[in-house]
């Protein structure tokens, strides 16, 4: 990558026209993927991308530039183009860079990019074979194995110079169950910020395959969910997508700094049921969404967003902090790669454990739903309207779980739904996901214990 002296030169050139801050982000990332379908490994791909993102601020205005040309002329040309948006005399000079080594909370035992394809293919086939043998009605299985080795260097005009290496490994299985002319599917896709040991020590690929197949069979045997408004118990782990979509996005400075969030100006106010404490924690060792440093070079943090229903704070990046008087960056600046400017994003976001027993939560529902597995969702942070799909769902009658139903979507308004979370269980678990927003697609965990939402609109037939 660039040496320190050239980085200094780039920062100087970027500040030449009046910007008050400049930041260089350098990245080299190696992505590898293996795809299996129809019992055959049909796709193996790999890519190495490298480049620089350069950002300058002048007050409340930012300019961002990116290039894959890391030659001296390439990076200085970008600096000139970025600086060219302003046309004033310099106001600050870059401070001498002082190297900072972040603590590593995400140790890696087996670096996946150094392991031959054959070893990974064997793991992929274990998952496939287990899914296939789960039931004769499993008609198709797709397995995707992916590993990423991301090296980033961040330097800025305030003297920061730091580095991180982020290794992530994930396996995702999609199983299809077929009966006559009907297909139904199941999915399971755990991942961690760790090496190949994720699938040799932590997760058994066969279990991943079986879980996807189990879900597909449940859905094949399920009837359709009836539309209406019911109490819903949402299971732990990926169930936490309800908080991610319904509230999390609306607590990102991307929305809050511009007044486009239903939670603007509400810090210190009761915004959720007192049973709800919600946290964004980038410091969980080896978790999929964890970060040693964020993409502005700040150490990852554990940020309590809501405590006993009271809004405590937001997730904030450096640029948006300038618009939010009284608030500081929270170590949440993230981006897909050097082609995106970073902004406030979630890391590992979850509802903290409560005091309710799981059986009491289910037992409290006279007629409603038990959402065992959630799909993805989305939100409009301006008014909080959110949706998310239920991937595995059951009817609850008189406090007991009965038949499976499919095709349920839950919709509502974020600020209302977090008031309706009136029971929170004790068993926290996390689920793996990818989150798409203005700075691209990034790895995040969602999580929660079993919770009850007193009433929510359910889409179905």
């Amino acid at each position: 990558m660039l040496n320190k002296s050239l980085i200094n030169e780039v920062l100087g050139a970027a500040l030449a026209t009046g910007a008050d801050f400049a930041e260089v982000f350098l990245e080299t990332t190696e992505n590898r993927g293996i795809g299996l379908t129809d019992n055959s490994v049909h796709r193996i791909s790999g890519d190495v991308v490298s480049g620089m993102g350069l950002r300058i601020y002048k007050g409340l205005r930012a300019v961002y530039g990116s290039t894959g040309d890391l030659s001296r002329s390439g990076v200085l040309s970008l600096a000139a183009n970025v600086a060219g948006v302003f046309a004033e005399a310099p106001t600050v000079a870059a401070v001498e860079l002082v190297e900072r080594i972040p603590a590593n909370i995400n140790p890696v035992k087996i670096v996946p990019s150094s392991i031959p394809n054959k070893v990974k293919i064997d793991l992929v086939k274990k998952a496939n074979d287990a899914a296939r043998s789960y039931n004769s009605e499993i008609s198709q299985v797709m397995v995707n194995f992916m590993d990423t080795d991301r090296r980033i260097w961040i330097a800025n005009s305030e003297g920061l110079y730091t580095f991180d290496r982020q290794v992530r490994t994930r396996m995702a299985v999609s199983a299809t169950a077929t009966r006559g002319t009907e297909n139904q599917s199941g999915f399971h896709g755990p991942g961690m910020q760790a090496g190949l040991e994720v699938f040799t020590e932590t997760y058994d690929p066969a279990e991943i395959g079986r879980e996807a197949a189990r879900m597909a069979m449940v859905n094949l045997n399920a009837g359709y969910c009836q539309a209406g408004s019911y109490p819903v118990a949402i299971e732990n782990a990926f169930g936490g997508v309800i908080f991610h979509e319904a509230t999390g996005h609306s607590l990102e400075a991307t929305q809050v700094a511009y007044g486009v969030s239903e939670f603007c100006g509400k810090v210190g106010q009761q915004v959720a049921n007192p049973k709800v404490t919600a946290i964004d924690d980038g410091t969980i060792p080896n978790a999929w969404g964890s970060i040693n440093i964020d993409d502005e070079g700040r150490p990852g943090q554990r940020n309590v967003l809501i405590e006993n229903g009271i809004l405590k704070g937001y997730m904030i990046d450096t640029f948006n902090a300038r618009r939010m008087e009284g608030f500081k960056p929270t170590g949440n600046a993230r981006r897909q790669n050097f082609q995106f400017a970073p902004t406030s994003r979630m890391t590992n976001t979850f509802i903290a454990p409560g005091n309710d027993e799981d059986e009491d939560i289910i037992g409290s529902i006279e007629y409603g739903l038990y959402a065992r597995k959630m799909g993805g969702g989305s939100v409009n942070p301006a008014n909080g309207a959110f949706n998310f799909s239920v991937a595995e769902c059951y009817i609850v009658r008189n406090g007991k779980i009965f038949e499976a139903v499919r095709g349920a979507t839950l919709i509502g308004k974020g600020s209302e739904i977090i008031k309706d979370i009136d029971m929170v269980g004790k068993h926290l678990a996390h689920g793996t996901g990818m989150c798409g927003s203005v700075s691209g697609s990034i790895p995040v965990n969602v999580g929660q214990p079993l919770i009850r939402v007193a009433k929510i609109t359910v889409g179905g037939r």
Partner: protein, 441 residues
Amino acid sequence: MEFKQIKQAIDEICADRGLKDYKLVFSRGSELSASACGREITETAIGVSSVLTLTAVINEHGGSASTNLFDRENLERMVDMAIDNASHLEGTNKCRIFAGSPSYGKTSNPAYTEPAMKDIIAKTLEIQNQMLDADARVQSGSETQVGCESSVLFLANSKGLCLENRTGYTMYYQSAVVKDGDDVKLAYDYKVQDLDKIKLDKCVSEAISKLGALPTQTRQAPAVFSSDCMRQMLGAFIQVFFGRNAYLGLSLLKDREGQKIASECVNLIDDPFEPSGVAQIQFDADGVATYRKEIVKAGELKTLLYNLSSAEECGKQTTGNSGPFLGSAGTMVFSLYLDKGDCSKDELYARAGDGVYIQEMKGLHAGANPNSGDFSIECAGFEIVGGKLDHPIKSFTISGNFYDLLNKVKALSDEVEFSPPHGFSRFGAPEVLVESISIGA
């Protein structure tokens, strides 16, 4: 580095490694954009990027590797990675290096010169001010963005084929947030338009029209999909028309070519040369000539979509739909659209009688399952009462099955609107009346 030099280096490395069959795709692009909120420019962006993908064929299987590092050492590493990737592949889908089609169509992509950044910034501010001046209820967090992108794509292979395509266009994004008391609504416009023709679009009036929404009722009712919503629906389910998905049992259209799968008024077309397109392309990712094709004609499935590999696997001819161009190729569409009907929009509402107008849909990435065809999606829109658009309605859900939906189409409006291109793909649709759909509220 220019593509010619890169290709020469790759040819040398491949010869050195004994690799005889390979394909190269190289893309170079640039982007400029400006964003504004609260009457101020908040961010400007400048991006230049290049990517090279090599597909190496070993034992009839194609493994790929990509890089944006074009020095000799990294190119050698990429070739070795592609060869290693290919050597582990299995199965019936074969990778063929294509010598070229007898002829290629002619694109009419306009010659494009990127506007100057100062002009982009000026236009962004002009629209931002117009938006905030349009109505007192428009919030300062409303956003305007103007951007342009241009790219050149080269495809070459070991059989001497060398093809090139250039595109470039300017786009705008306008997102209006309006507030009346506690009622907050949002609408957006996102379109391709020459810089000097960009003006404030309909997002402000549309957002205001959503204020004061009332709840609707859970029921079965006729529905009219806006063009935007029908385009999203096509995008979410397009893979059911991919030949390889059908072959693998991941689409219910396996062996249905020649059969009726939709109402007679449904015509589905993929046309890489659709006249309004600004990202037309004359070849697919195999290097095969692209062409206009009817996928569904008068409700009958005429063909699924194939690349060279899936066509061979399924005993069919390629339809020139290999893609994407970078990374591992599968199947892609170009200008894919549901053809227009003969009703005015008002006639559609009149035929619906009492029902809903679906103006906005969200969450298709999770609420639509191409494997089963099932969907369950959050919507916003208007009540249709007595054959006319009436009041706005609060968030509701629609649920159904894409295959059923195709058979429930009763009529289509007489104008097709297209989404902006994403790469070389875009979707088009008129407004569509559907006989009935499950509504949840």
